[in-house]
């Protein structure tokens, strides 16, 4: 993450010594995005509940729905990965376990998010197997 801290903060020597500002801002920006996307997801889930494959397939075939769902997956896994990172940093002391968990956390989020986006695009572009 790039350095978002201001020149004044660096001049005063206050604030995060490392990359905390990037984490802080990324966490808030994804939070605001999810404040819009999560209610949409709940509403969509409500509409799709009780319907079958055809309805879900047609729903995801709409470009707006596919785009919003991709944004939800990306913002959701990004935000979730930041949160899980803080939990690991809070409760696991320094050492190999902590490092391994921090890397695993990023890999799981990146892998599942990418897989989900590929599947969304596949269905949206009509290559879903029937």
């Amino acid at each position: 993450m790039s350095d978002y801290s201001t020149p004044l903060r660096r001049a005063r020597g206050l604030g995060s010594a490392k990359t905390g500002v990037g984490h802080f801002i990324g966490q808030r920006v994804s939070a605001v995005a999810l404040l819009l996307l999560a209610p949409w997801a709940l509403w969509s889930g409500y509409r799709l509940a009780g319907h079958g494959y055809e309805t879900a397939n047609a729903w995801l075939g709409r470009p707006t729905h596919a785009a919003l769902l991709i944004l939800l997956v990306l913002a959701g896994f990004y935000h979730g990965q930041l949160g899980v990172r803080v939990i690991i940093e809070d409760y696991i002391g320094p050492g190999l376990t902590r490092t391994a968990l921090l890397i695993l956390n990023i890999f799981v989020a990146a892998a599942v998010a990418t897989l989900a986006v590929v599947c969304i695009l596949g269905v949206a572009l009509g290559s879903g197997t029937v």
Binding site: L35, L42, Y46, G50, V73, I87, V123
Partner: protein, 135 residues
Amino acid sequence: MADSSRPIGVRPLSPHLQVWRWHVTLAASILHRAAGVAIYFGILILAGWVLALHAGVQAFAAYTGALASTPGLVVLFLITLALLFHLANGVRHLVWDVGFGFAPKTADATAWGAFAFALVANVGLWLALAASGKI
């Protein structure tokens, strides 16, 4: 502040839950984190849903069938509860970030408000699902 007897490089971990007196703002803080973890499982379930949809009609029927089972519905009910609470409490955090709502009485009231919103909205959502015959 810093414990001078602590060896260099050993940094303190978060305080453990039992050292704090129980309070509604404490409950909101802890449950915000717990809800976040629950929602992480929720987004994994969502990822599974798009994988199943992509895999085809049989996989999708099996997946949504599992979600519509009683254990599946209980899990989904708890995840939507967690999501609604995390959303409301997240707004509380964003308001704090711009500098408002720190007075103890305000913080208490907004914590209760976040709990109330989550309960009412979630029960409303699931009553609507049941009333419309979707579940």
